[in-house]
Amino acid sequence: MQENLYDVNKEITILDVLDRVLTKGVVITGDIVISVADIDLIYLGLRVLLSSVETMEKRRAVN
């Protein structure tokens, strides 16, 4: 949870963060960058992590 990130009604999950910091933004050509193929692998790997997070925290407030 980001202290500086105003959060109206939910926890910020790793998936929320990854959706921005990996797949959007400036198209950068650093000397080393995470490739599109690697990003796909990260998302595949996160299926397990996502499931475990689900059991620990409520992702969304019921309105």
Binding site: Q2, V33, D38, G45, E54
Partner: protein, 265 residues
């Protein structure tokens, strides 16, 4: 880890002015490099983590990935509190200051234009969900086609009613999709009155919770800071207004303006 082993440069973001972050804990290793009137927020990292070979291994290490991705966002978030930023993607590495300077210097004017455009603006994310069960409960109110069939069922013999019920069942999915389309257009129109820009992202079709909800909007909005409170009040009103479809909204921000960096594309 010995500091001497940290030879690679990890970049978080660039700003127009040098941020003053001395009072914030956890930024000891962060420093700013002046490049053509811009400031790159950087730190040295180890080849053990970020060399071309090792980062691939690290990416499958979920605790490492979780910790470092959140750290990436946390540092940018701290800088955002005092300066407008152009955020860089997680894991963007330069092998030397010279290499970083060459890249940032080459695009310095584009970065400056983007930073001026983003000044006093924030990125907010909205994900909207409808509760399918709630929609089915209220389907007669929400769908004229289903309401018409219901009326016919009541006025029909048992045999004809059976056929009509099957017909109702057959069109239910199509009617729910139609309701989703109507509602999402309405919600988007209401929410898009204030923002300067928006981006629509792909809808997630995966079930992320046990609730019988479907995502109908996944959007990012670029808002002027003074409009944020009004925007959030608007989303809260929409939830109340759409109680009969079990509408829930995930509203989060301010995010680094990842969705609105319109350069180098």
């Amino acid at each position: 880890m010995n500091v001497d082993h940290k030879k690679l440069l990890y970049i978080f973001c660039v700003t127009l002015e040098e941020p003053s972050l001395q009072s914030h804990p956890g930024c000891d290793e962060l420093f700013f490099l002046e490049i053509d009137g811009l400031y790159a927020a950087i730190k040295y990292v180890s080849e053990d983590d970020y060399s071309e070979v090792n980062i691939k291994k690290r990416l499958s290490d979920e605790p490492w990935l979780d910790e470092n991705v959140r750290e990436h966002l946390r540092v940018i978030g701290l800088i955002m509190q005092v300066n407008t930023v152009i955020p860089f993607n997680f894991g963007t590495i330069y092998k030397s200051k010279e290499s970083l300077k060459k890249f940032v210097g080459a695009y310095a004017n584009d970065f400056k234009k983007a930073l001026l455009y983003l000044e006093n603006k924030e990125e907010w994310s909205v994900k909207a969900f409808c509760n399918k069960q709630k929609i089915i409960e209220n389907i007669v109110v929400l769908s004229q086609n289903v309401a018409d069939i219901e009326a016919q069922i009541k006025a029909s013999s048992p045999g004809k009613a059976y056929i009509l019920k099957k017909k109702k069942s057959d069109i239910l999915g199509k009617e729910i999709n139609s309701i989703y389309n109507t509602i999402s257009k309405h919600l988007f129109t209401c929410m898009n009155e204030l923002p300067d820009e928006y981006r629509l992202n792909a809808l997630s079709t995966e079930k992320l919770s046990e609730e019988d909800d479907d995502m109908i909007i996944n959007a990012a909005f670029l808002l002027r800071k003074e409009s944020v409170d009004t925007f959030i009040t608007c989303t809260e009103s929409l939830i109340i207004e759409h109680e009969n479809i079990g509408l829930s909204l995930e509203v989060t921000g301010p995010w680094p303006p990842y969705s609105f960096i319109n350069l180098l594309n």
